[in-house]
């Protein structure tokens, strides 16, 4: 039975991807581009060489973290749309920690910075979780407000107090090459952050399967009133849910700093937090499924340059595809309808 639902969900997700690619192809045709050329360029851009594939994997790292963050909260019945704010908080906290610890041993700096990044994300998440339970306010609204407050606040920090002197863009100084994560393949952006992300996914899988806290979170997500009646503490569970979810999003920001940028750059996230929603929904919140869906979105991101270069389409075409995937995946009833119609004819 369990096996069957997994397969069913997988088919629904594949259907959603297929529909999105078809409609996106339709858009390309309408506007006068060649969709076949575009898609083959996209595939080549994502898989064409060893370095290209490494690049694809590295693009999926932040999406893996934000996807896990959204999925984790979803399991507990909370919609975490605040990933964007949490990842900026995490990136800023980890950068500042690393800048304050200059000269200290490498391992210690990375360890402390990662803890700081997770803690910052967790705090932001916990506020959202606590507000939902204590004040009964909509978590989505609180999260959106926090997203903007944090984005503007970090932007202020790197434009004024922590701005690198003489730099054209608003950014902090370099944290130092010594403190960057180790590259898995030289001359690419693929670092050990990938291993951290995959480990996190596996850890979460067992967390939900084997631990008491994981069981509580799932119980609240599946039936709130029953869970409450069974004596599961609502407040603690909500704070734990959003705390861990926020910490995961915080890691997305932290690994961008320590794996790619080496500093905090104003507005560095092209919406990782929001794409994380798509990643989680596509994977039906399953930690292992997220490995696959994050990779898919990584492929889109990585292939977009090549697609733009050879087919003349704006790289933003991948946003069109992403938007469609979000809409289709969130609407399983459409796919079911198409399937039924096909069955009839």
């Amino acid at each position: 039975m369990k096996q069957k639902t997994v397969l069913h969900n997988l088919l629904l997700s594949l259907g959603a991807i297929l529909c999105s690619l078809l409609i996106a192809a339709g858009v390309m045709l309408l506007v006068g581009y060649d969709p076949l050329e575009a898609y083959s360029a996209l595939i080549e851009g994502a898989f064409g060489s060893k370095n290209a594939f490494a690049n694809t994997l590295s693009k999926s790292i932040p999406l893996l973290f934000t996807g896990l963050a959204v999925a984790f909260a979803n399991k507990g019945g909370i919609f975490n749309i605040g990933g964007e704010g949490q990842l900026y908080a995490g990136a800023m906290a980890s950068t500042v920690t690393a800048l304050m610890m200059q000269g200290a041993p490498r391992f210690l700096v990375i360890f402390c910075s990662f803890c700081a990044g997770m803690l910052a994300g967790a705090c932001v998440g916990a506020i959202i979780g606590a507000a939902k339970i204590k004040l009964q306010v909509n978590e989505v609204v609180v999260a959106i407000m926090l997203n903007y407050i944090i984005q503007y606040f970090t932007s202020y920090i790197v434009t004024y107090p922590l701005k690198q002197e003489g730099a054209m863009t608003a950014q902090t100084v370099d944290i130092g090459a010594n403190y960057m994560l180790t590259k898995l393949i030289p001359k690419t952006q693929l670092t050990t952050a990938l291993l951290v992300a995959v480990a996190a996914a596996i850890l979460l899988f067992f967390f939900f399967k084997k631990t008491r806290a994981g069981y509580h979170i799932r119980a609240v997500g599946e039936n709130k009133s029953a869970a409450q009646a069974a004596g599961i503490p609502m407040m603690t569970t909500a704070i734990l849910t959003m705390g861990i979810s926020g910490a995961l999003a915080g890691l997305a920001g932290t690994t961008e700093v320590f794996g790619k940028m080496g500093r905090f750059i104003d507005g560095f996230s092209p919406g990782f937090g929001f794409t994380g929603i798509a990643v989680a929904v596509l994977a039906n919140n399953h930690p292992m499924g997220i490995l696959l869906s994050a990779l898919l979105f990584g492929i889109l991101e990585a292939g977009s340059m090549k697609m733009s270069y050879s087919a003349g389409i704006s790289t933003s075409m991948v946003n069109v595809i992403q938007g469609l995937v979000i809409l289709f995946v969130a609407t399983p009833n459409i796919i079911r309808l198409i399937k039924r119609k096909k069955g009839e004819s």
């Binding site: 989505v140 407000m145 903007y148 929603i277 389409i313 938007g323 809409l327």
Partner: protein, 302 residues
């Protein structure tokens, strides 16, 4: 400092408030029907593009405004169909629309004008003066050489308020947002009200986006809505899901922006931009129990 309460200050506040007011009134109607709309940002962006494209192909900015309304309405219908017919998670649908429109407008800009993220220049919507009223002392300025949007917006706010609180249909709309099942039981066509409200919200958002592209500017720039959609959402909440409240909240937000520009003191832009969200969050967290939106918003009953 003498400029704070001047006519000029009032006018620049009004100008900045217009897109926020239109979108937040749209959001108010939409959420009152029980449908959450996080796609306001994307719907505004689609309107901003539609206005420029319509003006570009017709040479007439009024056709541009029409396009903005139509395109916004189209995304309104999309959101409505997904949420009502297919019971999609409303927040996710809104986010999906935002991502989709953000990509689509850039792709289309490149396809039409062959440039990245910026359209060609088009004619602006001309300002108008109201004969008679413009001769009035002091407030005459409000009717001299102003964007027609000013009067349209004022009309929409009053109309929306009148509709919601002085008509039977408005009473029904409010009832649907709070107790959809009860409304259904007494024979109100709940889905019809929702379709109309969400579509109208899309049209207002499109109209608001058009203001950004062919009144405040004369071209489309990628991501030109720049968070105003979410700011409108904040205004809607702060305004207590009431059109007049949304107007007041939008005016407060716009005043803060106008103040920063008129005061020659160096206040970091980011801190000023943060303010609307900060105020809204503060109010939510400390008066959260009193600021209650439509009770059934977000839940579509089976």
């Amino acid at each position: 400092m003498d400029s704070i309460l001047s006519m000029e200050m009032l006018l620049s506040t009004l100008r900045m408030a217009i897109p926020l007011v239109l979108a937040s009134v749209g959001g108010t109607l939409c959420e009152r029907s029980g449908i959450i709309n996080l796609g306001i940002e994307g719907m505004m962006l689609s309107g901003a593009f539609g206005a420029v494209y319509g003006t570009y192909i017709s040479g007439n900015p009024w056709i541009g405004v029409l396009f903005a309304i139509l395109v916004g309405g189209l995304f309104g219908i999309l959101h409505a169909v997904l949420c009502i017919r297919f019971k999609t998670n409303q927040s996710v649908s809104g986010i999906g629309i935002n991502v989709f429109v953000s990509g689509l407008t850039i792709v289309l800009t490149r396809a039409v004008w062959k440039s990245d993220g910026m359209s060609g220049q088009v004619e602006k919507l001309p300002a108008v003066s109201i004969p008679g009223l413009k001769e009035l002392p002091v407030i005459g300025t409000l009717f001299t050489e102003q964007s027609p949007y000013l009067f349209i917006t004022a009309g929409i706010v009053l109309g929306a308020w009148f509709f919601m609180y002085r008509t039977k249909a408005g009473l029904r709309l409010r009832a649907i947002g709070d107790h959809p099942q009860a409304a259904q039981t007494v024979g109100i066509n709940v889905s019809l009200y929702r379709y109309v409200a969400v579509t109208f919200c899309g049209m207002l958002c499109g109209l608001a986006g058009g203001y950004l592209s062919i009144v405040q500017s004369n071209l489309f720039v990628k991501e030109m809505v720049a968070g105003r959609g979410f700011m409108a959402l904040a205004a809607m909440i702060l305004g207590g899901w009431n059109p007049l409240g949304a107007l007041c909240a939008s005016l407060v937000f716009a005043f803060a922006q106008a103040l920063r520009i008129s005061l020659k003191v160096e206040i970091p832009n980011q801190l000023m931009l943060m303010l609307p969200y900060f105020i809204t969050l503060f109010v939510l967290l400390f008066f959260g129990r009193k600021v209650k939106g439509p009770q059934a918003a977000g839940n579509i009953e089976e």
